[in-house]
């Protein structure tokens, strides 16, 4: 904007401007000797950025430990002591506990399930009548799932997970709701399985070549040690398929369950009163909207998988396997034709 006729239009502002006249008169061009201290220069001096942060970081690694670090670590006992002061609260509920240290399948009790709220179903109007055998009754217009049925189905599912793990199967834990990520990752790490906590990409099983083709695989021995010698044989293999899928929210993962059905992959699913129990192989009738309930179920199944893995590795230590291992000969053959690679070319 260009302001013209300054005196006429903005006389008042001009007066205000002239009050600060000493500032502007300092900068007369007729006095070039007077050093002009600019604000910019002073700021530039103050903020001196490290030249190369990467280099600095590498250098800092070689310093043993900084005084601040020593101080922080020396204060640690004080801090932990301070936290212990006061009353000790017993038998309190820690929401992190079920994720950090999930219970074993042998510890399943109706009290535990009740506390986690697995018995709460949906409003009676939303029910799927196929679930009637799991339903205990109606309370305030909400279906109540029978806890003993839940416990029985959960134990059965835990057994299935354990046996699949003991036979070296790939177990996929899928929980794509917002808060289920940590529980799913924890369960997968316990059971040495695999996890999905974001969207299931449709076609990962039916069109695996395209979607999982670039993901790395490896050949392991019975002790789960990688055998790098066989890396070249993995080049033209079809993508892997899970041997068991545990789905914590079957209602949102219709595509996953459909693909599992097409590929003959057994599934375990948390079935609420509004879900279709025939979509999964092993239903666990339970509340699937409570994070506490689904985290508990995921944790228990993870522990079951852990037990199965321990059993399998113990057998492997003795030199036995409970499954038919893939042979080097099979690895060498073309997985699609069953012929030796390049065999046809030699015949011609």
């Amino acid at each position: 904007m260009i302001i013209r006729k300054l005196c006429m239009r903005q006389g008042r502002q001009l007066l205000a401007l002239s009050r600060r006249a000493p500032v502007s008169s300092r900068f007369q061009s007729t006095l070039p000797e007077t050093p002009v201290e600019t604000l910019q220069a002073s700021i530039r001096d103050e903020i001196s950025r490290p030249e190369n942060p990467l280099l600095e970081m590498v250098q800092a690694q070689y310093e043993a430990s900084t005084p601040a670090q020593q101080e922080f670590t020396s204060d640690e006992p004080h801090r932990s002591n301070f936290k212990k002061l006061g009353t000790t609260v017993k038998s309190s509920y820690d929401p992190e506990d079920v994720i950090r240290n999930p219970p074993k399948p042998s510890q399943i009790s109706l009290e535990m399930l009740l506390a986690a709220g697995t018995h709460l179903g949906h409003s009676t109007s939303r029910w799927n009548p196929q679930n009637s055998r799991y339903i205990f009754g109606i309370r305030e217009g909400v279906h109540i799932i029978s806890l003993d049925v839940t416990a029985a189905h959960l134990r059965r599912a835990a057994k299935v997970v354990e046996e699949v793990a003991a036979r070296g199967g790939l177990i996929l834990f899928a929980g794509t709701r917002k808060g289920q990520k940590r529980a799913v990752v924890k369960a997968a790490s316990l059971a040495k399985g695999y996890h999905i906590f974001e969207r299931w990409i449709p076609g990962s099983l039916t069109n695996g070549e395209q979607i999982l083709g670039h993901c790395e695989t490896k050949v392991v021995n019975a002790l789960d040690e990688e055998l790098p010698n066989f890396k070249a044989d993995l080049a033209d293999r079809p993508s892997l398929k899970p041997d068991l899928v545990v789905c914590l929210n079957p209602l949102e993962n219709v595509v996953l369950l459909h693909e599992c059905g097409l590929n003959n992959v057994p599934t375990i699913g948390v079935i609420d009163t509004d879900a279709d129990p025939t979509r999964v192989t092993y239903p666990i009738p339970s509340n699937d909207d409570s994070l506490r309930a689904t985290c508990l179920i995921a944790g228990i199944l993870g522990r079951a998988g852990e037990a199965g893995q321990v059993r399998r590795l113990k057998m492997a230590q003795e030199g036995r396997t409970s499954y038919t291992p893939i042979t080097a000969q099979e690895l060498r053959l073309d997985p699609f034709t069953g012929m030796a690679p390049g065999g046809e070319g030699q015949k011609k």
Partner: protein
């Protein structure tokens, strides 16, 4: 079996060639070590006896037999396992070191993380922008840990996500008046762009080799061209040599205003508040809006016709 592979076969042959004799029973081996101890000299030359090679690989052993083909990563079925593994690792680090004191974002060391394309090359997966941004958020949170308290593992992890080179090392040099006392300023308005060379002098102005009156017929344009000098009462203290290109008369005049204001700032930085208030160094970024298809002009729609 792996022995059908050329590399392993060559290794086996190598081991055969190097070991002159097969491995002996343990009693014999102990006797030989005793012998060597007795005959040992203190000469500095290397011993002629080569070290015994490692035993042959037993390909028939249980631990060498393949058993299963499994995914390398627990995130295999997500379709982008390497990215998700990175995210999980960073989240674990963040949770582990959550109690460490932090500094404000402005005080944290400035880090040049991977650009999206570089990160895609780094993980080798087509990561969407939104997901990469969430990863960078975790990186920035880890970077905010008080600089002298950052654990080594955090340093190492963060360093892995830095793009090569250091873009922040290059500091732009502030413009100054050159050795001949000339200040150079550039300005743009509408389609015009102007370059002003400003030296101390008696108030002579040349626009494209012409005098100001020849270049601008309207008084208004002349006034706006020299507005920066006029509002600071410096009309008789500087000579300006101006080149202006493109656009119309008004655009050229106001491009000169901006260029002149910027050049004057190099001579007298203290004039900045006055020039700012007078509008001489304020950029007018408005340009002619493009014509769109289906419109008569930029926004005008064709007249509605009933049929």
């Amino acid at each position: 079996m792996a022995w059908h592979k050329p590399t392993s076969l060559a290794q086996a042959m190598q081991s055969l060639r190097l070991t002159s004799t097969l491995t002996k029973p343990s009693s014999q081996a102990s006797r030989t070590t005793l012998n060597t101890l007795r005959t040992r000299t203190y000469a500095t030359e290397a011993e002629s006896v080569p070290a015994a090679a490692a035993p042959e690989i037993n390909f028939g052993a249980f631990s060498q037999k393949p058993a299963r083909i499994i995914p390398s990563s627990p995130s295999y079925f997500s379709g982008s396992p390497r990215f998700i593994d990175h995210v999980l690792q960073l989240e674990a680090l963040q949770a582990k070191h959550a109690s460490l004191p932090t500094v404000a974002t402005s005080e944290a060391p400035r880090m040049a993380w991977f650009k999206l394309a570089q990160f895609r090359d780094f993980v080798g997966e087509p990561v969407p922008m939104k997901k990469y941004k969430s990863l960078v958020k975790i990186l920035q949170r880890l970077n905010r840990i008080q600089p002298d308290m950052v654990p080594v593992e955090v340093r190492d992890t963060l360093a892995a996500f830095l793009r090569p080179g250091n873009p922040y090392a290059v500091e732009n040099v502030p413009r100054t008046v050159d050795e001949n006392g000339r200040a150079r300023g550039k300005g743009k308005r509408k389609e015009s762009s102007a370059v002003v060379q400003l030296v101390e002098g008696e108030g002579e102005v040349l626009v494209n080799g012409k005098s100001l009156v020849e270049a601008f017929k309207r008084v208004h344009d002349r006034e706006s061209a020299l507005w920066a000098l006029r509002c600071t009462q410096r009309l008789d203290k500087y000579n300006a040599w101006i080149t202006v290109r493109g656009g119309g008369v008004t655009g050229q005049a106001e491009a000169i205003t901006l260029a002149l204001g910027r050049a004057l700032l190099l001579h007298e930085p203290g004039l900045k508040p006055i020039l700012r208030k007078a509008g001489a160094i304020t950029v007018d970024a408005r340009r002619v809006e493009r014509k769109k298809p289906g419109h008569v002009k930029a926004r005008k729609m064709p007249t509605w016709v009933k049929r």
